[in-house]
Amino acid sequence: MVTLTIDDQNIQVPEGLTILQAAKQVGIEIPTLCYHEALAPYGACRLCLVEIKAPQPALVTSCTYRVEEGLVVQTDSKWVQRTRKIILELLLARCPTSKVIQDLARSLGVEETRLPTLGTEEELCTFCGLCVRVCREVVGRSAISFINRGPTRTIETPFKIASEECIGCGACAAVCPTGAIKIEDIGDSRLLHNWHTTLKLTRCKICGGYFAPQEELESLKQQVPLDEELWEVCPDCRRKLSAHKLPHHLSSY
């Protein structure tokens, strides 16, 4: 166990936790954007900055900084507030029309940005990298990545064409905090607009409705031990069919 102080509270937490996790344990909320429990800490958005007083005074990202003995943390000091507001102004300049970013900014006391928006009126991507990371770390496909550098940086598939790795699972869209990734099911196809990829959907053996791309089912089959025929029915029918014999956590597949 490690003893530290967060917002004047003395606490003990297991070694290896980040400041963010430790704070959570004692009910202190720190705003985050690029953090997700299921993924390795990344430290991109800087929104989770906190001030540490000891060992030496500094601003650190709480999602990446591991607790240490005698650490003194202030999650909402003047310094933190001031810096966080600048970060929010930067985010607002990048994604001025994102409802999520606007709300986040407002909830932390920032109404508008003093920075110019450089032709990013339509932009929703904050570069938090969650989509890239979930595809690599959880789905295991690495279908997309950051490309280019500086002002032309963006997230893309290799060569900006349909990805052979994309299984159409939609994890990227699900994890995106600002809704920047558009996925649509139209008829028998799933369209992943951002990734130039269209995949054919499989029909449910029972109700006949389209439900998932073959590629996704194939990939899930490798990871989840289900009876072969259960993969041929849609989640709704599957639930009816086998609610009793499936372990609970699998029934949502």
Binding site: R136, R141, S142, A143, I144, S145, F146, I147, N148, R149, E156, T157, P158, F159, S163, E164, E165
Partner: protein
Amino acid sequence: MAFEKAGAMIAACKQRGGILLPLLEDINAEYGYLPEEVLRLITSELGYALSQLYSLATFYNLFRLEPRGRHFIQVCQGTACYVRGGQRILESVEGVLGVKEGETTSDRQFTVESVRCMGCCSLAPVLRVDEDTYGRMRTGRFRDIVKKYGRNER
């Protein structure tokens, strides 16, 4: 096989522990760009995702994803060259060749790129064709320079 040399480079890289950047540099130097086929070969041989390779290849200025023309023209836009009209030099090059910076002429003779300072600011504005450096450039001069590297050369 069209990319035999690349195959050998990849094998050698594997021996060295699969460190990627030096390999990409070697391949880029060998072919003048990173051919898609070779990148795909790296994914299967070294286990990197294609997206990772594409990410690196687009991050560094050094790498190209398209073959270069026979002659490589670099127009300096560094501070010294810029203030001495480097931009107009670039425009004149683009005008004469009918391509934009970063592009290659359709006959694959010339690729134009801008660079930030070539380290000879006293000659500003500077332009380089392959290994030849041309200092104190004037907009009208490029037309004559380009003749030296004409189609029938080599």
